[in-house]
Amino acid sequence: MKKFLVVIAVAALVMSLGLAAGCGKEQVAAPGGQLSAEEQARLEAERQRRLREAQLQEQEARASQLREVFVNQDIHFDYDRYDLSAEAKQTLNDKAEYMRGNPALMVIVEGHCDERGSNAYNMALGEKRSKAAAAYLEAMGIAPNRLETVSYGEERPLVMGTSEEAYAANRRGHFVIK
């Protein structure tokens, strides 16, 4: 019984290989000269179309990747500070470039704080952070009417917990596409 099954499997394998080889041969032969000019043109057009499609797909993938980066990459602040670090400015340069490339994009800049400090002061501090980021984007040529700022103070932490890492992740400017 077992032997019989093995024979069938091997036969199936050989047959499929033969078929594949047959197909390959036909394709290789195709551009050879038996095809009419009309057919060749059609194939060429098809090839171009596929290429464009692939390029578009790649562009789309890249665009969605850039969009992902735009909304997911936060800028970070030191404790009780709202000035922009060199790293934050670099990130904001990327944001500005992305917004220039997508002129219809309207963005909400959120300012957030870690949970230390008074709630009211942090609400004001979060606003300073969102304003600082928006002002930088404006200086980079983004029209002010494309930017809206909102502070969440310490109300919307990204990471729960009381570690330095959690605090650092929560002191952030976050960018939301409207």
Binding site: D80, S118, Y121, M123, A124, L125, K128, S151, E155
Partner: protein
């Protein structure tokens, strides 16, 4: 100039009057709250007795419990264990020697009479040491009035002992938070002074913060995100929902009512700086008050309305400043702490409570308005934030985190712990103590 014999006589008479006044004043000062370690007064509240000819009733024990709990809440009394008492009080005659023997310096005797739904309660407070009646009241009403009768008499006791009524007609507003789908949902709640009778005030379903009472206790101002950024709402406690008062671009934070008016001091950032403005109840700006370049928030007026404490980062870190409103002069109040916030000016005017960063944790500190006499009132793990004074200036409620989540606690003005007021799911923060007469009419 040599004093004439006649002026000497006048001075002598004045001196005598002063001595008499000082004597009587001394006799009436039972407790000095400004003394950090003032002892508690031993108070006996024996079993309530039926009035002559009346039948015994459960209201006696109920009334005793309400009165004992209310008075012990003030932190001023050591309520003696009735199991140590000898005999029962006889209406009309007080055996001072016997009460003195069980260690009481004060004694309250109450008698009652019930008939159907009717209830009569008679209560008297005696000074056992001086062997005299201090105050007495008779209340006529229905059984359901029992708590109100007891709270009213508790206020009479406080009036006799301290010269001022206490907190038994007050409520505390606070922010209650629970976890929602997009993060914490925060609403404003009310509770009685002792943490009972919790009521939800707002139902915005987003983030509502910073409750502040009007002087008459009829309005509550707060900030809410209902309009996608913190805007100021005012809610009439008689009913209805919060009315939007001010929604300037940026943030609109920490509304407090100006004493004696319905104007609000609010922190707003529409000018680019976060400064404190005076706005009227219709949202019109009356006056631009502070002028810090960065962040000015959390105003609190002195009780006479002439000065205002607030938080500013103009010196490089958040500290408490005091502004004289007539002259516009501003001075820094707090030094020696890295971070100070949430000032609340005592209704007595003599101290300002705030939260100060001490060893990485906030603690509640009080300080005189001239910047001297700082006292740290809380200590230990979790810290304490957002202090609020009771309207008599004897108690401070605050948000503490001893259990790992914020809950509301109360202590005396000199830092003796009284108890935790809230034990709800989620967190409770930012308490704001009402003026007197909110939970029931005063006498």
């Amino acid at each position: 100039m040599r004093p004439s014999p006649r002026s000497l006589v006048i001075i002598g008479a004045l001196l005598a009057a002063l001595i008499v006044m000082a004597g009587s004043a001394w006799a009436r000062v039972y407790i000095d709250v400004t003394q950090p370690f003032s002892r508690r007064l031993p108070l006996a509240i024996p079993e309530f007795q039926p009035l002559a000819g009346a039948a015994p009733d459960a209201v006696g024990a109920e009334g005793n419990e309400i009165l004992s709990k209310a008075l012990s809440f003030t932190g001023l009394f050591d309520i003696l264990d009735p199991r140590g008492f000898i005999g029962k009080p006889q209406p009309g005659s007080v055996n001072y020697a016997m009460w003195s023997k069980v260690g009481a310096e004060l004694m309250i005797a109450c008698s009652y009479q019930t008939g159907g739904q009717g209830l009569t309660m008679e209560c008297r407070l005696y000074d056992v040491v001086e062997r005299r009646l201090l105050t007495g009241r008779r209340y006529d009403g229905v059984r359901a009035d029992l708590p109100m009768m007891m709270y009213r008499f508790a206020d009479e006791v406080m009036l006799a002992i301290t010269g001022e009524r206490s907190v038994f007609s007050t409520e505390i507003a606070f922010v209650g938070s629970r976890q929602g789908e997009k993060g914490a949902v925060k609403e404003i709640y009310l509770m009685s002074f002792d943490g009972s009778s919790i009521k939800k005030v707002t139902s915005h379903g987003d983030i509502s913060l910073y409750p502040g009472w009007s002087g008459d206790g009829r309005l509550l101002a707060y900030s809410s995100y209902q309009k996608r950024r913190p805007a100021i709402f005012v809610q009439a406690l008689a009913g209805g929902s919060g009315k939007l008062v001010i929604n300037k671009p940026g943030v609109n934070l920490t509304p407090v009512f100006q004493p004696g008016s319905n104007n609000l001091a609010v922190s707003m950032s529409h000018t680019g700086r976060t400064n404190i403005f005076l706005v009227d109840i219709a949202g019109q700006i009356v006056k631009h008050l502070t002028n810090g370049w960065g962040i000015d928030v959390a105003p609190s007026f002195s009780p006479d309305g002439k000065q205002m404490a607030y938080v500013s980062d103009r010196g490089g870190s958040p500290q408490i400043y005091v502004m004289d409103l007539a002259s516009g002069q501003q001075r820094r109040l707090t030094f020696g702490y890295k971070y100070c916030a949430a000032p609340d000016w005592s209704p007595r005017g003599d101290r300002i409570a705030f939260q100060a960063m001490d060893d990485g944790v906030f603690q509640v500190v009080t300080i005189k308005p001239d910047g001297s006499g700082a006292q740290v009132l809380t200590s230990g793990y979790g810290g304490a934030e957002d202090p609020t004074w009771s309207p008599d200036g004897r108690l401070i409620a605050y948000a503490g985190r001893q259990t790992g989540r914020y809950q509301i606690y109360v202590m005396t003005a000199n830092g003796q712990p009284i108890r935790r007021l809230t034990n709800l799911p989620g967190e409770q923060t930012d308490p704001a103590w009402s003026p007197r007469g909110v939970s029931r009419p005063l006498d």
